[in-house]
């Protein structure tokens, strides 16, 4: 029965997908990601960014004369399904490499499979620092920031401010704890004066934050690190707005300034929330970024979010690496990818050779109403260059040796 169902699922999911070209004539990229449920807010941008870049590359004659094609598989946010899909793409679809997943557990599972199968795997949205950190290897690449990087970048920005008494609150799961620890541990080393008043952790999917907020206010901290992810981002901001929390005590959320958090709330999002993001469509105000935004809007009729940048650059790095390798070969692809630097809408991005982690800037800003858009944007944006907040190659080597 299971086999029949699986068979049907595979058949159905291949409907309407491009990429049925004969192997050898194309560069075939296999996407495993979550294409149903709330995570699609992020994953669809990755795929659309990739599609946009791939079409442009194909229009110019492709890579080494071959067109870039892709197939997608929905992992439904479940690691076991994701792993099955990845295996199926490698064995049956003969993909040249794999891309994907927003779920860190799925990414780590596929990464392990790719190490054994010797297939390159580019991670596009998972935020666990283990992927290119302690669990990193030759076949896995990180195309976005991770909790460790976000933590360091934020700690750098917060260390310049005069807050002393901190409170940590967040979603009680790995991402929440990882981001909170990432920020606070680095902050403590940068500014030994800071101290932790207390912590509160709520279950993932908590709907009513009011009791937590009143509790935090009663403790009178100077600053609150709020470690929420996914749906918790908007939920917490709404609670902050209705309780006036943001006007009483400043707080930080990773991705608080991102479009995916601010746009659904329209003009009613809380002002003065500190946040970090890898991409803002209105910053930096450069020619490259403008061109990217215009093209994305023309193609999809919406503003690009961080995922669009990751997907777009994934296609660029794939094309660039195969071009440099001179042939469609997985091992040569990896050699070519290591250390490659490409221009991106936010400046040059380097695929660091030592850990296969892309170096990209992090934007730190604070939410503010905008006369130009009907949602809030980030103001006072500080750009933290990638090299300033990435763990060093020596630190990565130490983590991997463990």
């Amino acid at each position: 029965m299971r086999i029949v169902l699986l068979f049907l699922a595979v058949i159905l999911s291949t409907f309407g997908m491009p990429g049925s070209g004969v192997a050898g004539d194309t560069v075939k990229v296999g996407f495993v990601d979550t294409y149903t449920g709330p995570a699609t807010t992020f994953t669809n941008d990755v795929l659309d960014g990739f599609k946009m870049a791939a079409e442009k590359i194909n229009a110019k004659g492709g890579v080494l004369g071959k067109k870039i094609t892709y197939v997608t598989r929905d992992d439904k946010f479940k690691p076991d399904i994701g792993l099955t899909m990845a295996r199926e793409l490698i064995l049956n679809e003969n993909v040249d490499l794999l891309v994907g997943t927003i779920n860190s557990a799925t990414a780590l599972a596929i990464s392990d499979l790719c190490r054994k199968e010797k297939v390159p795997f580019i991670v596009t949205f998972s935020k666990s620092d283990k992927i290119t950190g302690e669990k990193g290897h030759r076949y896995v690449f990180g195309m976005n920031e991770n909790t460790e990087m976000a933590g360091r970048a934020t700690a750098k920005a917060l260390a310049k401010m005069n807050f002393v008494k901190y409170w940590i609150a967040g979603d009680d799961y790995e991402y929440g704890h990882a981001i909170a620890n990432g920020v606070f541990n680095h902050l403590k080393t940068l500014n030994p004066k800071v101290r932790l008043l207390g912590q509160s952790w709520w279950k993932v999917g908590e709907t009513d934050f009011t009791p937590y907020i009143t509790r935090i206010l009663a403790a009178k901290p100077d600053f609150v690190i709020v470690a929420t992810g996914g749906g918790g981002m908007v939920n917490f901001q709404k609670a902050a707005q209705s309780t006036g929390f943001n006007r009483k005590v400043p707080f930080y959320q990773h991705t608080a300034i991102e479009l995916s958090t601010l746009m659904p709330q329209g003009p009613n999002a809380p002002e003065g929330v500190y946040g970090t993001a890898n991409y803002l469509f209105y910053y930096p105000d450069t020619k490259e970024n403008k061109a990217f935004v215009d093209e994305f809007r023309k193609t999809y009729n919406r503003y690009p979010k961080s995922g669009a940048l990751y997907g777009y650059m994934t296609a660029q790095f794939i094309a660039g690496s195969f071009e440099k390798a001179g042939k469609i070969d997985r091992e040569k692809f990896i050699d070519a990818m290591e250390g490659m630097t490409l221009p991106s809408p936010v400046g040059n991005m380097e695929m660091r050779a030592c850990d296969h982690q892309v170096t990209l800037p992090m934007f730190f800003g604070v939410t503010k109403k905008s006369p130009k858009y009907d949602f809030l944007v980030a103001s006072d944006v500080v750009s933290v260059p990638g090299m300033d907040y990435m763990p060093s190659c020596a630190e990565i080597a130490k983590a991997r040796a463990k």
């Binding site: 149903t36 709330p38 952790w201 009791p211 009143t214 509790r215 009663a218 609670a239 209705s242 309780t243």
Partner: protein, 298 residues
């Protein structure tokens, strides 16, 4: 950790009020479930889905009418009515054929509807988050010893008792309510004296669904309306109904109070492990009174 000092701090009163406003939502949803459980004997797993539909429907109504207090109030009426209509279709179209069969069949059917309704919501409203803001009239917050209590939470504190009184009137003062109570105790006997039990069941199910929809509509401005909001609620609601006494409406009120207050006070006393308190309370209640606090109709 200085637990005692935390418990008698300036935050206690506002924490209790916040807990009570949470109790309101829990009570509205769990009383609907308890009602259906008591009279129809259906452990309605799809109850959470009805609550989710209520929230999504409220979003649609508020968007359609362009926001503001009027749109909000309209949503509070239209959304639960829509959910009640869905409940009516479910009861007459499906559940009513299975009353003679084993309870397990009914349980499976409600489980099936939880999945079906979840997917329907995805088809109708899409997989993205939806968000409505608190109507302008309720925006902002009152100050209690320097701590904020949103006006919307205070509004919920008013709604809760109104719903409780309304339910009490329906069940104790109307003929329909009296017959429903009788049907809960002995459905066969009620049928024997010439009353059409089927319609009593339909009425109860519709009322229960209405309450689920109302709960969803009321919580809509406070949360991210998203797929999956049904699952997180259904667990809590079941626990509340169980610790209160299966099918006993006042048990549902008591259970909601225990759940809402232990949560908010738990957060006050020990913020790091606040989420564990309601469940510990549920365990404690079940150890002392395994059949629930109040008498069960089962």
């Amino acid at each position: 950790m200085d637990f005692a000092a935390n418990l008698f701090s300036t935050g206690t009163l506002s924490q209790i009020l916040v807990g009570l406003s949470r109790t309101t939502i829990l009570f509205i949803v769990s009383s609907g479930m308890s009602l259906i459980l008591g009279v129809l004997r259906i452990p309605n797993v799809a109850h959470g889905s009805l609550y989710m539909i209520g929230a999504f429907a409220a979003w649609t109504v508020i968007r359609f009418l362009g926001g503001g207090l009027f749109a909000f109030l309209a949503a509070m009426i239209v959304a639960p009515l829509l959910v009640a209509a869905i409940g009516f279709a479910l009861e007459r179209g499906f559940f009513s054929y299975l009353y003679e069969r084993e309870h397990l069949m009914l349980l499976l059917l409600t489980f099936a509807f939880m999945l079906i309704l979840g997917d329907l919501v995805k088809i109708v409203w899409g997989p993205e988050y939806r968000s409505v803001t608190v109507p302008p009239f309720f925006q902002g917050s009152a100050e209690i010893f320097g701590l904020p209590l949103p006006w919307y939470n205070l509004f919920l504190l008013l709604v809760g008792p109104c719903i409780a009184v309304f339910l009490w009137l329906v069940i104790n003062r109307t003929n329909l309510g009296k017959i429903a109570r009788a049907a809960a105790v002995d459905g066969e006997m009620v049928g024997a004296v010439g009353i059409n039990v089927g319609w009593i069941f339909a009425f109860t199910f519709v009322l229960g669904s209405f309450l689920a929809g109302l709960g969803g509509a009321l919580i809509a401005p406070m949360v991210n309306i998203s797929l999956g909001m049904d699952h997180s609620l259904i667990m809590e609601t079941f626990l509340i109904v169980i610790i209160g006494g299966l099918g006993n409406m006042w048990g549902a009120l008591l259970g909601s109070l225990i759940f809402g207050l232990t949560q908010s006070l738990g957060i006050l006393v020990w913020p790091q492990f606040g989420i564990a308190f309601p469940y510990l309370a549920a365990v404690a209640v079940l150890v002392v009174r395994p059949r629930g606090l109040l008498s069960s109709t089962w």
